[in-house]
Symmetry: C2
Subunit: 206 residues, 2 copies
Amino acid sequence: METRQLLIEHAMKEIEQKGLDGFSLRAVGSAAGLSSMAVYRHFANKEELLRAVGEEAFKTFNTRASAISSASLQSWVRALARVYVEFYLDTPGRFDACFVVRTSVERIYPQGFRSGKSPVISMMAERLAAAQAEGQLVRTDALELALQIWAQVHGLVALHKAGRFSLSRKDFIALCERAAMRLVDAAASDQSRPAQRTRTRAQSSR
Amino acid sequence: METRQLLIEHAMKEIEQKGLDGFSLRAVGSAAGLSSMAVYRHFANKEELLRAVGEEAFKTFNTRASAISSASLQSWVRALARVYVEFYLDTPGRFDACFVVRTSVERIYPQGFRSGKSPVISMMAERLAAAQAEGQLVRTDALELALQIWAQVHGLVALHKAGRFSLSRKDFIALCERAAMRLVDAAASDQSRPAQRTRTRAQSSR
DNA sequence: TGTACATCAGTGAACGCGCGTTCACTGATGTAC
DNA sequence: TGTACATCAGTGAACGCGCGTTCACTGATGTAC
């Protein structure tokens, strides 16, 4: 049953080359060295193949996100933003399959996120909540703040996809990191504190 | 030459009904009560029609944004976020034609924004800069902050479009407003100030 | 006032394309007896 | 060990569709003389 995996891999290459719109079943079949119709032996239809691609791509992203080992909340969020943007820049097809395609099993706010079905956002919400418990962060809805950070980076990516930036890769990544950081810093600096910069506060969370 | 305008209007209806993907030249022609090929008398090709639709839709959005008459920076940003989200919720096709389609004349960050070609973002950046000059806002790159606020709301909309929310219209709009406000408030409250909430500060800017 | 002509919006048939999906099939492999 | 059968991955032709675009045309309108 390894043909299925072969098809998913070639489907990813196809979606990377042709984009979400140009993605076709027939191309996947022949790219995999089979007939155009071979795909139907393994997937009921196009939608199902696309869903499988999305899940596979999400595993990749999730692995990278889980591998972040930053100690402080700040640097963890920054690293996560970077992983997200690089995932988009390097493999936009996979990114779309994960975060743009509407599938039926998607993680939905707020239910799916509260119950921890969306690993990354849940993880971020937990870290934010932990920082709140330690008094390092102002007390707001941690899940909503996590969502907001996600949407912040996602929004920059979406505008990038719509051709709204003429920045180098490096500058764009830095812009995204800064935007994510501003949200964390804001939540941190809204605490009672002396009148000074708080960039380096809350460094040793967990 | 009013047929051209008629075609644009029916193109908008079409793009609203069928979405960006299902949008076809033939459908526009016959929807306007003409032959399928009549469009080619007025537009060189599909792309040009789409650009005309985008510009027309942008005028609508721009008019609404310009009509906001809030006194304070805070409430102005909140109102702008609302206009943006409602533009998406009510007329997603027009929204896509404005902010998702890649056209050749798009406003690009940072050049096109600095020179004021993107009316709304430029206006926001100017208001932010004015608030900075009055000492109500922390001194950062006003244009970047404006971009960030835009991307924040745009990101929430993009995730909504990908089916990630199960919120009522009202709740989703409120969520977007809150997210935009958090960014403005953060920039305001990062000023030197007593250890208290700053929600109501900086109320009378201009 | 009348005639010849140019312009140009709109038409309808056709081209060529790629798509998702269906369907009857082939042929290799494994299993039951 | 040999034979009959079932299973099932893979095939290739075909269906029906809608798309963007080209092209020769029609027919009304305006203009020049």
